[in-house]
């Protein structure tokens, strides 16, 4: 997700403007000039200003210096890792999708099966062979369930597969 400074800068201008607009529509505090809108409005203006500066490339030189400094201290192979397929970057979204899947499914399906799917998918995506991945998916979720629901008394959803403890 390498975006140009122009895009992130414009996004920040948008967010800042929206914040200032949203703040201006907040109800005032009766009998008081300074209400809930002052702080977000100030931030909104500041953000829009920063966004504009970033879009025009102000402060870029500081970043280049830090980058040069950092890459001098880094493994060369780590730097060239981004040149694979175009969809390679989308792999980063796998954990996020799995977290949202957990929110959607855990209540009905239960903690242990959903957790097993999450663990197996990520292990597999990271290159574990299916036997190791399966072993981890069978062992880790019950262990975490035991720790959190038994010792820490967190009400993890039981769903279809309630644990014996």
């Amino acid at each position: 997700m390498q975006l140009s400074d122009r895009i992130t800068g414009l996004t920040l201008i948008g967010v800042g403007a929206l914040a200032a607009y949203g703040a201006s529509r907040l109800p005032p505090m009766p009998g008081q000039d300074i209400g809930p809108s002052v702080f977000p409005a100030v931030i909104g203006f500041g953000l829009a200003l920063c966004g504009a500066l970033i879009a025009f490339g102000v402060g870029r030189s500081f970043e280049e210096q830090a980058e040069a400094d950092f890459s001098a201290h880094q493994e060369p192979q780590e730097r060239s890792s981004d040149v694979r397929s175009r969809f390679h970057g989308l792999r980063a979204l796998v954990p996020v999708a799995l977290l949202l899947f957990y929110v959607a499914a855990a209540e009905t399906v239960g903690f242990v099966p959903v957790a097993a799917i999450i663990v197996f998918t990520i292990a597999f995506a990271l290159g574990a062979d299916w036997r190791h991945g399966l072993a981890l998916a069978l062992l880790a979720p019950p262990a975490i369930h035991l720790l959190f629901s038994k010792l820490l008394r967190v009400p993890l959803p039981a769903g279809l597969l309630p644990m014996p403890w």
């Binding site: 949203g22 920063c50 980063a92 979204l93 954990p95 799995l98 977290l99 990520i122 990271l126 959190f148």
Partner: protein
């Protein structure tokens, strides 16, 4: 004296001692695994601290962070991959030493001087905290406003990125802190009709997302670290005493710089290591040896990053302004445990304060034996493939924040901040500045609005009180400084003749 004895009895509880030992082991393992940071280790620990006694909870955070920062040196020296970002500054140097056949020396330096740095940092905490607390008792909302703003500005100044982007990150963080109805007038803001947002952004969930989920995401797109050949080590501590006597100056300088950077809000162990390594090279009598496996830089930076850990607690305990990302998490735990940060902690909870000192000293002492064991089994620990560690962490990212709120919405928060942290990191927006903004937003706003109401909308009192005016000058200076540096650089480039 009786307070000290009280503190000692607080620490000597079996649950506290057990917590220190277990947290140390956890910190050593997580710190040694490349890609897992000390901040992430601490963030994932918070749900567990929820169920511990206050002192045990703080002990786990202190022990975990101290051990993780040291353990980050292990893969740095053996694989040339820093275990935590705090070791990145001197990874090349340590690895060069290993290539020269001195891995024991490199790891020993990491261990020995980390412990010394940690103890120096603790001393600074013991000395600085009460003095500052006495000063802070006279502060009004004007001073607190400037102090909070100065803290935020410092965090943007020291970020290794463009200052404009750092300020933008911080403002986004402040904007997140506006969400909900936790504001002076109690009006719901930016909730978009979502009931779960009325209480504001769940800070722990945001931190887990920023520091753990984004790390899991990064693991998905980077190749796994190489496995390490199994090796046996000789004596780890041999020769360390000689080095301590040979290089007193780098050591002391490392400790002091670490302490200063730790006290500065938002700047932590990684920054301390970078600055100290650069300082060591600058002031060394033999700078040409740097990068070839020379101990001087390792000593200075290794001491510095651990010293910054303890001093980071100074502003956190007294003002509620986090000294680094780890104490940013710790502040949340302090509030949760009824140890609300503030200058009055010394009068109302003096024994707890002393207990924190004692825990720091214990943690830095047991670091040496535990660290030696860790170094000896490092090749086994580093043999655990990443594909089997990361999935468990991903699962903990879901369970941990849920354990605190019992609300599935916090997992959505985790996912959101994971994506945000990942995208920001990739595009040069410092994550620490945003986190600081989220944590300090309420304090900045409350002191700002309360001050404005007191002064009837006039800005004059913000500058007329003596301490406030000094803080204001510092804050404005911090804002102008990068612009000045940029202008000087710009004109020196232009005045240079072409060709």
């Amino acid at each position: 004296m009786s307070t000290f004895l009280d503190a000692l009895s607080l620490v000597a509880q079996p649950d506290v001692l057990l917590a220190i030992v277990l947290a140390s082991i956890y910190g050593l393992v997580v710190g040694a695994l490349p890609g897992l940071t000390a901040t992430m280790a601490t963030a994932l620990l918070v749900p567990v601290t929820f169920y511990l006694s206050p002192i045990a909870a703080i002990a786990t955070i202190i022990a975990t962070s101290a051990m993780a920062i040291f353990a980050g040196d292990i893969p740095g020296a053996l694989l040339r991959i820093p275990g935590t970002p705090a070791s990145a500054a001197y990874t090349n140097e340590a690895y060069a030493m290993t290539r020269k056949g001195q891995p024991e020396l490199a790891l020993g330096i990491g261990l020995w001087f980390s412990a010394i740095g940690g103890i120096a940092g603790t001393l600074s905490l013991i000395l600085l905290a009460p003095t500052l607390a006495e000063m802070a008792l006279n502060f009004s909302t004007f001073e607190y406003f400037w102090l909070a703003l100065l803290g935020l500005m410092c965090a943007t100044l020291v970020a290794r990125s463009s200052p404009v982007k750092a300020i933008a990150s911080m403002l986004v963080g402040l904007l997140f802190s506006c969400i909900g109805m936790e504001n002076p007038s109690g009006v719901p803001r930016f909730t978009f009709g979502v009931v779960d947002l009325l209480g504001g952004i769940e800070v722990i969930a945001a931190l887990v997302g920023m520091f753990a989920v984004s790390e899991v995401m990064r693991a998905m797109v980077t190749p796994p670290p190489p496995l390490m050949a199994r090796r046996r080590f000789g004596s780890i501590l041999k020769g360390q005493w000689a080095l301590t006597k040979k290089y007193p100056k780098p050591q002391i300088r490392g400790n002091i710089i670490g302490i200063i950077i730790g006290v500065l809000p938002g700047a932590g162990a990684d920054m301390a290591a970078w600055v100290s390594y650069a300082m060591a090279k600058k002031f060394s009598k033999e700078p040409e040896k740097f990068g070839t496996g020379h101990p001087e830089g390792l000593i200075e930076a290794g001491a510095s990053n651990n010293a910054s850990l303890a001093s980071g607690w100074v502003p956190s305990l007294i003002f509620g302004i986090p000294g680094d990302t780890i104490t940013a998490i710790a502040i949340g735990v302090l509030f949760m445990k009824g140890l609300n940060p503030g200058p009055t902690l010394f009068t109302t909870k003096a024994s707890s304060m002393y207990a924190i000192y004692i825990i720091f000293i214990i943690a830095n002492i047991i670091m040496i034996p535990l660290g030696i064991v860790m170094i000896r089994i490092a090749s086994q620990v580093l043999h655990v493939p990443r594909a089997l560690v990361v999935p468990v962490i991903a699962l903990l990212c879901a369970v941990g924040p849920f354990a605190i709120t019992n609300n599935p919405f916090s997992i959505v928060t985790v996912a959101f901040f994971g994506v945000l942290g990942f995208v920001m990191e990739r595009n040069g927006y410092p994550v620490a500045a945003l986190v600081l903004g989220i944590i300090m937003g309420t304090m900045v706003e409350q002191s700002f609005v309360a001050s404005l109401i007191k002064s009837d909308g006039s800005l004059l009192p913000f500058f007329s009180r003596p301490v406030a005016s000094v803080l204001a000058a510092l804050t404005i200076g911090a804002l102008i400084w990068p612009a000045g540096v940029w202008l000087v650089r710009y004109f020196s480039l232009r005045s240079r003749p072409a060709g």
